[in-house]
Symmetry: C2
Subunit: 637 residues, 2 copies
């Protein structure tokens, strides 16, 4: 078979592949990421490429995804097209996975370690500064005939004066080094120890005092984006943060399609490799920027949903998505960096925040830690909403959780012009007197509309009576923006001349229906949980919004469409990337680590899939804001 | 550089090596083992080979080791000779490391597990049958929506009904397999678990009931010989045993020369590789014979002296042999088979019996376990004598230990015609009326004399007044067997016409002097320890002899020369390879495992090197049987 060259524009990346390789595989090899929801099954039509030069062989049925015009212009689906010639292809704007604004900030995770008293006195939301892996410098007495205990015992004896543990293990590698290190450095050594839950494990022994070089990573393994934060374990300071798209997107846009891939054509190992690559790429950038030795990174704490947690460890997710929704594990074993291929110190320990159930993961546990709701008597509600919405309600005595599929609408998929919150996405909309005033991300020409823009849109359309409370267009209006395409009514937000692609950006009646279902599912989940514990919304002291979803959301509008419960605006607080915050809290405090396990154990998860009250609530929620106006006393259209 | 062929006779093994390779290295590559005490330094003169065909280049100073006749006949030192031609060489009998009778038997390690009551009632010397790694077959309830705990939790929940543990870990590899195994086998799985000290670790998950295939290895890592025993972990039965020479012999005959090699020209890793090869070779033979899958071997317990224990784990031994005699570790971490390269189940756990000090190792702890002395009120003495003698005295309340260098005489080195207890070694001697009646191993023609033969010899020479109580020959006798060679008197045990080599087998006055020093060191060590705890020999209820040394020893003669204390013969008991027995006891009982650590902790080691009473005792012991006759009331020459 011949080797053929494929050039991807606009980046100009070139790759050599064997004849017959799909363009999808070639793009992966070139490091060019193209959209995919189905993961290369040929069913989502997202991986559109335009062949400019050369001959490519497409599967015939894939032409159904294109207009005659598009076919004439060389449009193909990457996953259904085989390379049979040297090719030059363009990745169109819609198919490019571009960098969006990834949320890498959260509320402070711990009290500042400056003053000794502050470390122990402040508890909310921080925990005492006490990293789960740390360096300890020891000046040991040299051995004598009267004191000739084993080298390792000399170290642990001194260590026991500094740290509290009932047993202390040592890695074989470390034990092989220890004698030489001690002698070469005149009995002055720095040991890196994992110390929590009453145990101690020596990971590394170095000569002399190296405590100034002591680093850890906090990682948010999101389905869409991955964030790695480099933290100084000596003082808790954040040194840097890097983010990128989850490379698993190549195998599917959401957790379900990736699970289907992992349990079908692919394997959990392929997805593990992708996410490990993500973390390694980000770590390499952080290490380079801050000029540190990756061997000085000796701990990584990751937080993610249950599926992502399974993939990071290469665990099969196959029973996660099917009733009765069984995870392989919810408390993940401690592993070393070398075991999963991370390019930091090979003996570095990896901890993952515990999951609760198939659809309540470590990211929710992290969120509860980050907002401190499990430490207070006051009752709070945490809403982390992406394709899936995770809800936690409770206080320092009890915690209940549930999750509901919100659909991809809020994340920018599943609507005609939906897109992620990247360059050119309409993120804010106001409609007044038939005029649409929109704001796009980075002030780019409109390319589509993201989650917060869609929420605004629904509200503004309803407020202007363009749609009714049932989400249907009022076709009696003579609105030039209201058009029909393929018999479906749609509303023009940006005319062709305003947009990047030259095509109008619209919202269709189908889109509106999908969004109402999405907001209905989230609200019904919150309502079901509140009812389950016999509360009313008025009793929720705080409503925390977590994740990218909440960052640009207009809270009054989200309440007005019935997405969020009708509570005082002041009680709604955006807590940023609380998954990352929680991971960092655990990295920096053994107490937070213990708390994460306690929180996970305390959570009672309500499985909504067969829960009749939820089904009723969902149906009642398919209205703007709700069929029961009394639930939204402050909302008036 | 040319490739050259070297053929080793009498085995006829051929090997191809690069020009310039030493014959010593060529022999190693060919798997032909030649004697070496210095480990290839060119100083011991043990690695003698005879070049029959071809040209070899010898270092000039090595000719000092040979007679003119020998040089003419092509004798060279393997380590000082480089291959410059295709060669045919003969490994002479004296230089061959041949298989001796390796002691692979000990007293029973545990009570027969046949009856349930017997498992718990019998304590001495056995422990309840409860292997530290075992297979457990579980029939799990299938998950439902009401019971959808994680797969691993479903397993540990059921496991906790069978075993006792406060926490249960699982290896990553195992967790990656578990979901598929459970589903494929209809929720019927067999888990292999390490379960001791309140912890539990799942090493392996298999579908269906595989408890009939559950094996472990007990290993005695001796300086000279290595013994591996294959044990059925379901019922405790010994399936087979294999033994070979420690391949580390290539780098030196004793622990000191191997340590010198490891800390100088070589490395601990080279010695680790050698001993791991030993165990792999023996395991391969056992597995083949018994037709079992090596993956079904999931635990290995090893016992050895502190140096051997360090080498098996690749730990540096460099501070072991130098004052103040500091080991790298005395309690060895649990490792997995894959970490040290053993060809059994990669996740199999390896445990090594704990050491006490540089010269009191896991083999002594094993000996104490095997004879049960630490469980009884009666005071016992354990003597394990090779090049080094280890002594333990104590009971269920206290234990003291010491070690003394006995020199290589009892192991067959360091005397003119000394050899190991292999084919043709004189092992028993009786002298009556100038006639020497000897018995050789396997009735071979005499090739030399081994430890037990030398003890007999000293006694018989003294009894016949051929030597005085000071070990000097009575030169006034007109004994045709008494001759002089190089001005040193020697006594002919076997005339040239009787021997394999055609040279007389003799014992020289120098040999006798060395043997008196050896027996003096052992006795002085026992005496020092007895004095240290304020006892007399009469208070020793039992004297246990361990190791190869004790197997063919004539106890009354050993007492008569002042090697063993003068106790009732009936109290002296040979306990065989107690290092192996102790390892097997730990393999088969978590209680024995705990006991091994308790015994090691309880042992108070007396460092004799600077202990003045020992020096005085040693000098007083350089006489037959002793300068103080009152210590040997039953001995009369």
């Amino acid at each position: 078979m011949r080797n053929l060259k494929v050039t991807f524009l606009p980046e100009g990346k070139e790759v050599e592949v064997k004849e017959g390789t799909t363009l999808f595989e070639a793009a992966e090899k070139a490091g060019v990421y193209v959209n995919s929801v189905c993961g290369g099954e040929g069913t989502c039509g997202e991986c559109r490429l335009q062949v400019m030069q050369g001959k490519a062989k497409s599967d015939k049925h894939s032409i159904g995804f294109f207009t005659t015009e598009e076919i004439k212009n060389g449009y193909v689906l990457a996953c259904q097209t085989r390379v049979e010639d040297d090719l030059v292809v363009v990745v169109p704007a819609r198919s490019r996975v571009e960098m969006e604004k990834i949320i890498t900030e959260g509320i402070p995770a711990y009290s500042e370690p400056a003053k000794e008293s502050a470390r122990t006195s402040r508890r909310e939301p921080g925990y005492p500064f006490d990293p789960i892996v740390k360096k300890v410098y020891l000046e040991l007495p040299p051995p004598t005939l009267a004191d000739n205990v084993a080298n390792i015992d000399r170290v642990t004896r001194e260590l026991s004066k500094r740290l509290s543990f009932s047993r202390c293990d040592v890695s074989l590698r470390c034990l092989q080094d220890i004698a030489d290190k001690m002698r070469e450095h005149n009995w002055k050594v720095t040991v890196t120890v994992a110390n929590f839950e009453g145990a101690c494990r020596i990971l590394r022994v170095e000569g002399a005092d190296t405590t100034d070089h002591d680093y850890g990573l906090a990682v948010d393994v999101g389905t869409t984006t991955v964030v790695v934060q480099l933290v100084n374990l000596k003082n808790g300071k954040i040194i840097g943060v890097e983010a990128n798209h989850n490379m698993q997107a190549h195998y599917g846009d959401d957790v379900i399609s990736r699970m289907v891939f992992a349990c079908g054509r692919g394997s959990p190992q392929i997805l593990q490799k992708a996410i490990v690559t993500n973390i390694n790429v980000l770590t390499a950038a952080l290490v380079k920027d801050s000029k540190i030795d990756p061997n000085d990174i000796t701990c990584l704490v990751a937080s993610g949903n249950t599926t992502m947690s399974h993939f990071l460890y290469g665990l099969t997710p196959c029973s996660l998505r099917l009733e009765p929704y069984v995870p392989t594990a919810t408390v993940y074993p401690q592993v070393t960096a070398k075991e999963i291929g991370l390019n930091i110190n090979p003996e570095a320990i990896i901890e993952m925040l515990p999951s609760v159930a198939s659809y309540i993961g470590g990211d929710t546990v992290a969120g509860v830690l980050a907002c401190g709701m499990a430490d207070r008597a006051e009752i709070s509600c945490l809403i982390d909403c992406g394709t899936n919405a995770e809800i936690a309600i409770g206080n320092n005595e009890w915690l209940v959780t549930c999750s509901a599929s919100a659909g991809p609408a809020f994340e920018g998929s599943g609507t005609k012009w939906g897109m992620r919150a990247t360059l050119g996405a309409i993120e804010k909309v106001q409609i007044d007197g038939g005029q649409v005033i929109y704001q796009t991300i980075s002030k780019g020409k409109p390319r589509g509309i993201c989650g917060s823009g869609l929420i605004d849109c629904i509200y503004e359309l309803a407020r202007n009576r363009v749609i009714g409370r049932d989400g249907k267009f009022d076709l009696s209006r003579n609105d030039p923006r209201l058009i029909f395409e393929n018999d479906v009514a749609e509303y023009i937000l940006a005319f062709p001349q305003e947009t990047e692609t030259g095509q109008a950006v619209t919202i269709t009646e189908t889109d509106i229906g999908n969004l109402i279902k999405s907001k209905g599912a989230v609200f019904a989940a919150v309502k079901s949980l509140v009812d389950y514990v016999g509360l009313s919304f008025a009793q929720l002291g705080n409503v925390y919004l977590a994740g990218g979803f909440g960052s640009s959301i207009d809270v009054p509008k989200a309440i007005a469409i019935g997405l969020l419960p009708d509570v005082e605006i002041g009680r709604v607080r955006y807590i940023g990337n609380s998954s990352l915050t929680g991971a960092r809290m655990v990295l920096l405090s053994g107490h937070a680590f213990e708390a994460s396990r306690t929180v996970a154990r305390r959570m009672t998860n309500i499985e909504l899939s067969n829960y009749v009250p939820f089904m009723n609530e969902f149906i009642a929620s398919l209205f703007l804001p709700h069929t029961d106006d009394k639930l939204f006393p402050s909302v008036h259209y």
